[in-house]
């Protein structure tokens, strides 16, 4: 299962750190590249595959794809707004609509009738309707500025552009200024928002994630990792003009496949100093913190069905994240990788230093970035634990901070606000803040208590902030007191505090509001330090490096991933695993062979019963050479006729190094075969209503 792009907002988002992304590699291999739709590599597509998409094809593809705001991809597959994505992208919704009596994660969900489709409390879909270039405007605003001024001016201008774009139609419009080529280009992405999104179908997790954590990021695979949603408008299914119909037979080995999706972040052009910092600081600390949380929560889940159910999503995303980060760490611990990166850097440096004008303009960029890494190494722990909420793992705390900050920020001019409180960002924030997704007090107590002990451990018992927060209370007691005393589990209470603004916050004696008020000054101070002394320095200098690259190599390259819509081209193809060829397809028979009867290799009852009806030779999952990364989960794999041939849900282990470079020999995308989807809907789930809708769309 591919890691979703953005950390989820409430539970895990560790602050706002996004690793600086620069330009793409130069000697791109055949399938390498995550191309924006306005700058597709048309010559390459023609030369490599004899494929020449016209403007209509491109616009149709762009409008058939959707982004799931939490960090996934998807696509419309029928004109009635039916959206295909991964099970693991809708999993939190499936858990949220479950109860102690009915666990849809385990049992699966199917809306027999349209009226049975259930609203997902925190899912929002965005369809990209327009891209326009705003580079000149952004650059003008920051010309000649540095550090804090650079950062403020840039954010201010971006907020302004976004607010103008959204206008009065906040409900249906989202606008983001997107930085590409690390500041080489600023584009304005205008999205149509669908906030009423309902769950149509999700299979049992035991087949969606067959093989579980052990098989995650592996292939051969036998997973039906699908979730079907429907976009609604005005209480009715949204009617969409653009969608990808299913192909009749799926793709054959060697056939061109294109993935349309939203890769979250790649770090293919970081400097050596940044990569070292990523390896030494970020990956190690996240993995250590996450591993302990995993041990804790997996044991907690053993304590009963409610602990298991309420911690389900958290454990799921945690394990997936650990596996992904471990793969990235392994890649960065390979000494060969740094040899390559050092060589690349030395070449560009030599080019820059060979010319006095270039040297004067770009020569200091590497050292300034390296110096910012030193600052980052100094502040990382405090910043992650305080501003990034590693020390305060709790939905209640997330609510409280959003409310406390929201009151203060909304009183400021749009351009001066923290980014997540600008007018264009508010709808997403309020959807999350005011949703009726359940919060589980027992689970909250365990998570918060544990994370407070980690706060004390990583910062030290004598840290003034730690002393101020814990006073003479034990972390566990403090967590229990806060959780039992809060009213923030009630969406109405949160709504009142949100709408009541600063006065309501000032008057509140909710223990989490008090905690958020107490911790906010330090959190903001750390964020400021990060943004001004690290992020702004990296941005300014990375922009210089991007220009140096343009000077040397020209412009026919793709930008690092930024959770914006991209097209990747590739072919259906296995690979060679230490001398063993791995064929590109699995079939349904293989799933029955691999099953042991024990979790996570236990097939659901529905499949066992359907065994004789199922076409055992039907292709199940397959691999392609497409270049993807976390965030591409749920992406459609389409053929040159823009028909669905597969549904991307994972990469192989070797693909995890794709964060840093693309190795076409072994990096593979894993997808569910379109034929397996239809076969399962019909033969296993008797989901005639939906299978028929998909079929009808295909025949249109």
């Amino acid at each position: 299962m591919k890691s979703i792009a953005a950390d989820r907002r409430r539970r895990s988002r560790a602050g706002l750190a996004v690793v600086t992304a620069l330009l793409a590699p130069l000697a791109a291999s055949a399938a390498e590249g995550m191309w924006t739709l306005d700058r597709l590599p048309l010559k390459h597509l023609q030369a490599e595959y004899g494929f020449a998409p016209d403007a209509a094809w491109v616009q149709h593809a762009q409008r058939s794809a959707v982004r799931i705001a939490g960090g996934c991809s998807g696509s419309f597959v029928t004109p009635q707004g039916l959206v295909m994505t991964n099970h693991h992208c809708v999993r939190e919704c499936v858990q949220q609509i479950s109860t102690a009596k009915k666990d849809y994660v385990a049992a699966g969900f199917y809306a027999t009738e349209l009226k049975d489709e259930v609203q997902c409390p925190t899912i929002e879909l965005n369809r990209l309707d327009r891209i326009s270039d705003v580079t000149a405007r952004v650059k003008k605003a920051t010309a000649g500025l540095q550090g804090a001024e650079f950062s403020k001016a840039q954010k201010g201008e971006q907020s302004k552009i976004e607010a103008e774009c959204v206008g009065d139609d906040k409900e249906h419009t989202r606008c983001d200024v997107v930085e590409l080529y690390h500041g080489g280009v600023y584009d304005l992405y205008k999205y149509h928002r669908f906030q009423d999104v309902r769950l149509v179908f999700a299979p049992e997790e035991s087949i969606a994630f067959f093989g579980g954590d052990p098989d995650n990021f592996n292939f051969p695979r036998y997973d039906l990792d699908i979730g079907l949603l429907r976009a609604y408008e005005d209480g009715k299914p949204a009617q969409v003009a653009d969608y990808f119909p299913f192909s009749a037979n799926g793709a054959e080995a060697g056939e061109l496949t294109m993935v349309l999706g939203h890769p979250g972040a790649t770090q293919r052009q970081l400097t050596v100093a940044q990569l070292e910092r990523l390896r030494d600081v970020d990956l190690v600390s996240r993995l250590l913190y996450g591993s302990e949380a995993r041990g804790l929560l997996n044991r907690f889940a053993e304590e009963g069905s409610e602990p298991a159910r309420t911690s389900e999503s958290e454990r799921f995303y945690l394990e997936n994240g650990i596996k992904a980060l471990k793969g990235e760490l392994q890649a960065l611990l390979d000494p060969k990788v740094f040899d390559v990166k050092r060589k690349e850097e030395a070449e560009l440096r030599a080019y820059v230093n060979a010319n006095p004008a270039r040297k004067a303009k770009y020569g200091k960029a590497w050292d300034e970035i390296a110096q910012a890494q030193g600052v980052y190494r100094d502040i990382e722990t405090r910043w992650k634990f305080i501003e990034g909420r590693r020390g305060f793992q709790s939905d209640y705390y997330y609510f409280a901070r959003s409310l406390v900050r929201g009151a203060a920020e909304r009183g400021k001019p749009n351009a001066e606000r923290l980014r997540e409180f600008t007018e264009s960002a508010l709808p997403t924030l309020t959807q999350d803040l005011l949703s009726n997704a359940p919060v589980y007090p027992e689970f909250e107590t365990v998570r918060l208590g544990w994370s407070l002990t980690k706060l004390r451990e990583w910062l030290g018992a004598d840290d003034p902030f730690v002393r101020q927060v814990l006073r003479k209370e034990s972390p566990e007691d403090m967590a229990a007191r806060l959780v039992s005393g809060t009213k923030l589990g009630d969406p109405a209470v949160r709504k009142a505090l949100w709408e009541g603004g600063q006065a309501a916050i000032d008057a509140s004696d909710d223990p989490f509001i008090l905690l958020a008020k107490q911790t906010d000054p330090e959190a903001r101070a750390l964020r400021k330090r990060y943004e001004y002394e690290v992020e702004a320095v990296e941005k300014k200098n990375a922009e210089l490096l991007a220009q140096a690259r343009f000077d040397k190599y020209g412009t026919s390259v793709y930008p690092d991933a930024t959770f914006t819509l991209r097209l990747s081209d590739g072919v259906v193809k296995g690979w060679d695993e230490k001398g063993q060829p791995v064929p590109p397809f699995t079939d349904i028979a293989g799933a029955f062979e691999r099953a042991t009867g024990f979790d996570p290799f236990k097939l659901p009852e529905s499949w066992v019963k359907a065994k004789d009806r199922l076409n055992s030779a039907q292709r199940f999952d397959f691999v392609t050479t497409n270049d993807i990364i976390g965030g591409n989960s749920g992406s459609p794999t389409i053929n040159r006729k823009a028909e669905i041939v597969g549904l991307v849900f994972d990469g192989n282990i070797e693909s995890l190094g794709g964060a840093f470079w693309f190795d076409e020999r072994v990096n593979r995308t894993v997808a569910v075969h379109s034929g397996a989807i239809v076969e399962a809907l019909r033969q296993v789930y008797s989901a005639e209503r939906i299978a028929g809708e998909i079929e009808a769309a295909r025949k249109n």
Copy 2:
């Protein structure tokens, strides 16, 4: 709390990997050095402190110190065989003698009368009686050999020397061939063994480890980390001629302090390739594995008093180990450290390459070591999980493997056996194997089930070994089946299998015996690969590098730590922590100020009650510049009169980098003040019998 040197045998010992240790740094600072007692730096002691110990002083010190076989240090403090060490060194014993009704870890233990002293099932004391040089003999046996032959010949000769030294007196004698200066010197250490060791006193853990994990490796500290044992012979207290009496007043700031103890392992002369491997492979994988185990076990402990009690030692050592390893990793992640190491290495290489004869002799050593690191990187995971038992965390499995291997190994000539089954090693093994220390089935089920899932995760579900072990069973079910079916919890059953030899093993259908038999071929194969392709290569070449160093720098250096007796000199001295001076002493009043009433900052009831009786100005803990490392736990700190002034129990955070180099500016040893020990015994514990015995010894 200082990490103990060796991983404990049953629970955590991850195979037999000991990082190759070479020569010590050259430009030693004043307090740097862990000196063997036959090669003390007499000139340095004279010049620095005006102190000139004579042979009698040295022999007295040598025979007053003891080693605790599991990985700690201690000393005789009265002629009646009373031994002072740390609480955390006797902790496992305190847990083992506890029951569901009486938890001595929490409540503390004091034997009011001699007859109340309780035998510790797995503690053995070793007193070093003689050191003799066997270098010529060992080198002769390995002359001209390489790889597997080198390894076999060396082990064979060492086993022979040890067996001759022990002779018929296995019960009282232990002999170890010790490799110093990484093969520059081989010494034979002959120890007197005390196997009947009884617990006399242990305070409540809440004061022994006041501040718990948050304060671990920190200072200021307020810990009474003491455990008192007594060596018995023939059922009576052992009468010893050599012991360290308590000093009247302890040490003053600036005063010379000497630590006599058994530092476990330092890695101060590893090559850069070895240090990188240590950082990238060993530390990261141990920390990730350990962090998840920590989360799991801490939650398990929340489930009831029995889960808490039975998992107590494991959790304690785990947390301590994690903090220590994290400190080491932090040290190795500091780019400056590698800059220094690279520079040192380049200097020696330049010296070697400058002369054709030297180049021919030593020139390839670095590259051969580097190549062996490549092998190690390839085999590490499988080796640790299979031979190192990371995938089989269970006392039962440890017993089963010892029994299965013991039957096979005892049938071989002594020189050909695996090291832990040689005649000189058998007493320690059998003490452990046949002890009546309790095994807790529920805890075993949890640990084993979890570790089997890790086996599957780290090796992959499709690994042939994993498939062979798990078949189609789930790890948790398999663990439950094995634990419920085994009889190995009964020491009598283990004894019968041990004494029954191969026939008994062949006839056994105990599920753990079957598992050990099944897994042994692969485990042995991995061990062989490690020993021949990594360890032997490292040893041979490290010996060459040691000689190159001798050529260049001469011989007035100390060998890396090897869990053998060392003397370290230093002074009582605080340090400067980022601009803030840290004074060298704390006092009893400070403990009461730091207490919050909540674990781990909760003082025991006995201390709260004794508050008014206690001398609040009494010095409690203190720091010195002595150079120590894990294994020094429990070491006596003595003055020039060979009187106890303190009891070493920890180092500060900065000391953790001491594995790789000694930074006298900030590396500090943390000890309990001798005065605090007597004050607590009298005023808090009314332990007049023992306080009187200590006092009487002082006045002799």
